[in-house]
Amino acid sequence: MALTTEEVEKVALLSRLQFTPQELASLTAELGKIVGYVDLLGEVDTTGVEPMAHAIELLNVTQDDQTRSSLTREEALANAPKQNGEGYLVPAVLGD
């Protein structure tokens, strides 16, 4: 299945990615190949087969509601591009 440039532009916007026109062209072709590969699954006849919600037939995997220790703040913030020792710092979130 071929993807259109518009579809790839939309996915890029949703993913907060910006591409040059050259990148967009090559990505449209590459993504199209990936989607086409997955489309192979469409060749399997699933008439009469109940849809599955999950790849493995497991149900009700749960844990007890008992707290365990969390990461220390230092550990949690260790990989943040920007932080102030208390929290992650990100470009201003304004408007809502």
């Binding site: 949703l14 919600a53 149900l59 009700n60 995997v61 707290t67 969390s70 990461l71 208390e86 990100v90």
Partner: protein
């Protein structure tokens, strides 16, 4: 007839009262220092795997059954994808097409009869995770926003109503009833200040335009921090939309759904940044989480354990005990413990109406003044029964009942002790008659006035009677005086 009808649907997010988060075992305790309750799962580090909290499932099932929802045979979790700084994984684990419950209802009524009792249909209730919090502090962070991920992954039950409410009053009644129900169920602390209960409202208008019924575009209102704010926002929005309709003539479908934020200080809604780019959430089943099937035994067990819920309790107080809807509401709204206190008193033989009056007025007044719960109230149900019996028999004059009641709770005395300390004793009929006779003889003008048709003249004697004998009951003094004058002394 109003120019339009305000149509309201509500989405309520309820934070479930679990100890740990929905998919990891970090604490959900409110108020901890920022970013001290997170782990690789809730901050979305690679390679981490979520595992469902069993208690969150139990609480959501309990709530869903209490609002009359059906429980589908299978439920699953989906990823709702959008990018926002308070959502570290880049998606929220929520439920899309197979929610854990659907098709319920909540009945609302108004003790003041401002609207008719009605059922508000509930479309669905689904279990999802909360996001983090962002705060913006110019001075401290030089224009950056600070992200705290402690709340990320806290379990939320989102309860979505159908647009069945007509105006702010019904919306408020729905929220009050839902909050009361959740409190009875013990599934959430419902603390709005701490964000345990969050409400979004979908509002539009229906109007008749030369025989044609027209609906205006739907607006979703966010950022309402109290039930009062929800009422005000709906009222404001209805007027705004009517004014806009007259100018623009835009109907539902002409423009995309708009999101507006409530500004409580300004008392108005404001348009929020358009989110058209994020309206495509590209839901797909979360491959990290196994679907859940509630067994029929589990469902029945949960249903049987719901206990008597507010609506049933109000109905029983009316049918079995003859209380009005208003009185029943006053008791039930205070919580099950107060209703149990009422039951205990009535169970020991006190008349229901008298118990209800004392509980809903004096007991509640004292609890409020002294900031006590009914469990710490010094007057036991048995002592209240004793007190009411003395009052009903006339042993305790009603004019002094409040003194006795106050002594009972403030000095931990029984009714007998309080009456003794206050020198209250029943004045027998002959003593009272002698007292009245004495007063009438000393006040011939009062007798003449009453005989001339001015019965209220007796009032002048009541104060004098109380001075001579503080235990003289004003009602009886009045009655005896009138009777004596009638008999010609």
């Amino acid at each position: 007839m109003s120019k339009y009808t305000t149509i309201v649907g509500l989405e309520v997010h309820v934070q479930l009262a679990t100890q740990s988060k929905l998919f990891c075992r970090c604490s959900t305790q409110f108020g901890a220092a920022p970013n001290t309750q997170t782990c690789p799962v809730c901050i979305g580090l690679p390679g981490s795997l979520p595992v469902m909290n069993r208690e969150a499932l139990r609480l959501s099932l309990r709530t869903a059954l209490a609002i009359g929802c059906e429980i589908p045979p299978l439920t699953k979790w989906d990823r709702k994808q959008y990018y926002y700084p308070d959502l570290p994984k880049g998606y929220q684990i929520s439920q899309f097409d197979m929610p854990m419950s659907e098709h319920g209802y909540l009945e609302i009524s108004d003790a003041k009869d401002r609207f008719e009792t009605k059922r508000i249909r509930i479309l669905r209730a689904h279990l999802e995770e909360d996001a983090g919090k962002s705060s913006h502090d110019e001075s401290a962070a030089r224009g950056d926003s600070l992200i705290d991920l402690n709340r990320t992954g806290t379990p939320l039950l989102e309860i979505v109503s159908e647009p069945d409410m007509r105006g702010a009053l019904e919306a408020r009644a729905y929220l009050d009833e839902l909050k009361l129900l959740l409190t009875y169920l013990g599934v959430s602390d419902c603390n709005m200040q701490e964000g345990s209960l969050r409400v979004d409202a979908n509002v539009n208008l229906h109007l008749d335009e030369s025989g044609e019924r027209i609906a205006t575009p739907i607006v979703e209102i966010k950022n309402m921090n109290s039930f009062r704010a929800v009422e005000r926002a709906i009222d404001y929005e209805a007027i705004r939309q009517y004014t806009l309709w007259q100018e623009s003539r835009q109907k539902i479908g002409d423009v995309p759904k708009q999101t507006r934020g409530w500004d409580d200080a300004a008392g108005m809604t404001r348009g929020q940044r358009s989110k058209e780019e994020s309206s495509d959430y590209r839901y797909f089943p979360d491959p990290d989480l196994a679907p859940v099937r509630f067994s029929s035994e589990e469902i029945e067990k949960s249903r049987n354990g719901l206990g008597e819920l507010p609506a049933a309790l109000r109905a029983r107080l009316q049918s079995e005990f003859g209380l009005s809807l208003y009185d029943a509401g006053v008791l039930v709204n205070q919580g099950r413990e107060l209703v149990d206190y009422f039951f205990a008193a009535v169970g020991q033989g006190a008349p229901a109406k008298a118990v209800c009056n004392w509980v809903s007025q004096e007991v509640l007044r004292v609890l409020k003044e002294r900031e006590l719960g009914i469990d710490a109230f010094p007057i036991s149900a048995g002592q209240l029964v004793d007190f009411i019996a003395k009052l009903e028999s006339g042993q305790l004059p009603s004019s002094r009942s409040r003194e006795v009641f106050d002594a009972m709770h403030s000095k931990n005395q029984s009714a007998d002790q309080a009456m003794q300390k206050l020198g209250i004793e029943e004045v027998d009929d002959s003593a009272l008659e002698n007292l009245c006779r004495e007063l009438l003889e000393a006040n011939p003008q009062v007798v003449a006035d009453v005989q001339g048709g001015k019965q209220q003249a007796v009032g002048a004697l009541i104060g004098q009677a109380k001075k001579k004998n503080p235990n003289a009951d004003p009602g009886r003094v009045r009655g005896i005086c009138l009777e004596l004058i009638g008999r010609g002394l």
